[in-house]
């Protein structure tokens, strides 16, 4: 081997040394894998982000659906009675408007519209198009016509959502449900007090009322309004155990479907808003207060009762001059004695009687489910006012509060809150009266209906054990007592285990010479003509007729029968 050859070998060796380069080449290959990995990672990341985005978007869509439905001003929940029957139903409708500025070809548009709505006055439509302002072409279009209109694809045709509130029971629940205005805001009744809830609730709102019972009571009230030629009347049926109102009627009433503006004061809600002197129905409170304070017993005798008293220059007389001078406490209530009630009231005392009336919720404004609630006129207590309040003179309240007070007195002395909205909250009942009050008062209320001396024998419907107290009061007009009367009867049944209170009032009833009374004392006697326009001949008869009609429903649907 020569020198040159040797050099070549060295070069080769140098070339071998360049093996390092090929190692570097391997490094480059590894980086490519990293790059691919990175690329896949990015793709994976993008997909993951997309997946997360999709997931989160689903939730957003769900939320926005709810929000849309809740905040949509064109939504209003339905109202049903205790048996899930519709009292108010909302139906969404579509109104079709035309925007003249968006019309491309007027002739074509009118031709198409004439095809769908041939009966329209198209001269008028043309005039309105000429004016250039948006106008409603057709309101409450059917789905079929809506589809036809949309198929035209004309941008000048603009559908607008609308809401129709239907009251399928017409007048039946007008004073409870109330009305809404053109902007779908409640203006009276539950429509007003539940306005926000109705706009937001996803489910129907259930009331405590029963539409069949409501119908039967209303039809009897309407009938007797004609018979006794009353100015108006009202009735409330309440469950004494929980304050649930099964029926609340005030006449005259109105049809909320007509959306008429009611300004006549005679359309007042006589159950909740009307504040009246009810007269003798207050005597039950006087006796109950005495029982609550353990001042007297039902058979405690009150002797030497005068025929009249004078208080602050005004005479207090007995309604019936045949009332004996010696009477037991229960006889005073049965015979509706004024002087005897004054004597019991005086025994109770001003402070205790006032406290008792406050406890049973008669004196103050009641907190109720609808806003149309009357405030009893403030009563200035004193010696004479105590005497007059003892027999229900000069003291005012609402029929709703009267029903509540009687419920408390007969349900064992438990406080209740009258309610129209059904809820199943089982709050512990608060006992506010002694046990004895109900036990002592119920047999007396029953005797008012069953005995000859009692004033309510026309309500003695067989099988329902009705008890109650009548009240006939002179109407106060402009601060003076008139000859016009308010007749009332608060009934409780069955008295052996009270479940319901039915309070009824007739505003200015008159006598009717043709009406035939069927006595309910077992004699089968009939009597033609109303002798007096007092509660015993008017309100009691109406209650008797009502309970005869609603009794079977209450007995079969709402009573525990075994």
């Amino acid at each position: 081997m020569n020198k040159d050859d040797l050099r070549i070998i060295i070069e080769n060796q140098e070339s071998d040394f360049s093996y390092q380069k090929s190692k570097s080449h391997l490094n480059i290959t590894f980086n490519r894998i990293s790059f691919i990995f990175f690329a896949f990672f990015i793709v994976f990341l993008i997909y993951s982000i997309h997946l997360i985005h999709l997931g989160s978007r689903e939730v957003k869509i769900f939320d926005s659906k709810n929000i849309n439905q809740i905040t949509n001003k064109l939504y209003r929940a339905d109202i049903v009675d205790r048996n899930q029957k519709y009292l108010v139903k909302t139906i969404n409708s579509i109104d079709i408007g035309i925007s003249p500025s968006k019309i491309i070809e007027e002739k074509k548009l009118l031709f198409n519209l004439r095809y769908i709505f041939p009966d329209k006055d198209y001269k008028e439509v043309k005039n309105r198009i000429k004016k250039g302002k948006f106008f409603y072409f057709e309101k409450k279009v059917s789905e079929e016509n809506y589809e036809k209109l949309m198929k035209l694809g004309d941008k000048s045709i603009e559908p607008r959502d609308n809401l129709i509130r239907i009251y399928p029971q017409k007048n039946l629940f007008s004073h409870i449900i109330g009305q809404i205005d053109d902007d779908n805001n409640g203006i009276s009744g539950l429509e007003k007090s539940l306005d926000d809830e109705l706009k937001n609730s996803q489910v129907s709102i259930e009331l405590t009322v029963d539409k069949d019972i409501q119908y039967l009571i209303r039809s009897e009230l309407v009938r007797f309004n004609d018979i006794f030629n009353t100015k108006g009347s009202a009735a409330i049926l309440m469950d004494v155990r929980n304050g649930e109102i099964l029926s609340l009627i005030s006449l005259p009433d109105f049809d909320p479907n007509k959306r008429a503006q009611i300004t006549d004061k005679n359309f007042i809600n006589r159950v909740t808003k009307g504040v009246y002197e009810f007269g003798s129905v207050f005597k039950t409170f006087t006796l109950a207060a005495a029982f609550d304070e353990n001042i007297i017993e039902p058979l405690t005798e009150l002797t030497d009762l005068p025929k009249s008293l004078t208080c602050a220059g005004f005479p207090i007389r007995e309604y019936d001059n045949k009332i004996p001078s010696n009477l037991t406490a229960e006889q005073i209530l049965i015979r509706s004695g004024n002087i005897g009630s004054v004597r019991i009231g005086q025994k109770v005392g001003e402070e205790k009687f006032q406290l008792f009336l406050s406890k049973i919720g008669v004196l103050d404004k009641i907190d109720f489910d609808i806003e149309e609630v009357g405030k009893p006129i403030e009563f200035n207590w004193g010696k004479c006012p105590l005497a007059t309040a003892s027999f229900g003179h000069g003291i005012t309240t609402t029929l709703l509060q009267l029903a509540k007070a009687y419920s408390i007195i007969v349900n064992g002395g438990y406080n209740i809150h009258p309610k129209l909205i059904k809820n199943n909250d089982l709050k512990k009942r608060e006992k506010i009266l002694n046990d004895d009050v109900s036990k002592k008062i119920l047999p007396i209320l029953r005797k008012i209906v069953t005995t000859k001396e009692g004033t309510a024998s026309l309500a003695n419907v067989k099988g329902y054990e009705i008890g109650g107290k009548t009240g006939t009061a002179q109407k106060s007009i402009a601060g003076n007592y008139s000859k016009k009367k308010i007749n009332s009867f608060v009934s409780v049944f069955p008295t052996s285990e009270p479940k319901f209170v039915l309070a009824l009032m007739l505003d200015e009833p008159k006598t009717n010479k043709d009406y035939i009374y069927h006595y309910r004392d077992g004699s089968n006697m009939k009597y033609k003509g109303t002798p007096f326009n007092t509660a015993g001949w008017t309100a009691v008869e109406v209650v008797g007729q009502i309970i005869e009609k609603i009794g079977p429903i209450l007995a079969t649907k709402y009573s525990e029968v075994y």
């Binding site: 997946l51 029957k85 079969t556």
Partner: protein, 101 residues
């Protein structure tokens, strides 16, 4: 080997994600379609119920009675009512408890 398994894992995840996405979309469509059907059925039900409530209201029933069953429908005495009690597939008929003073 580790790297290959990571790559396969990534590929699997991507494929899995794509599959899930597809199936989710399909389920979503089905849910949407079911919801729309329910909405439509609910609307029909409510309309029919409204009609039923109106036609079966006391007012209407009395009108129908006057029109079609003038003398055929009579008021039943509550004392003739009986209660059917169901207990372990046994039917028991009980008389209505009536207050007799």
């Amino acid at each position: 080997m580790k790297k290959i398994s990571i790559i396969f894992l990534i590929l699997f995840l991507i494929l899995f994600t794509a599959l899930i996405k597809n199936s989710t979309k399909r389920i979503n469509d089905e849910i949407f379609s079911a919801e729309e059907n329910i909405r439509s059925l609910k609307k029909d039900f409510e309309t029919i119920k409204l009609e039923h409530d109106y036609l079966s209201s006391a007012d209407k029933l009395l009108e129908f009675q006057r029109l079609y069953f003038d003398d055929e429908l009579v008021q039943k005495n509550i004392q003739n009512f009986k209660i059917i009690l169901e207990n372990n597939d046994n039917l028991k008929i009980k008389k209505f408890s009536f207050i007799n003073e």
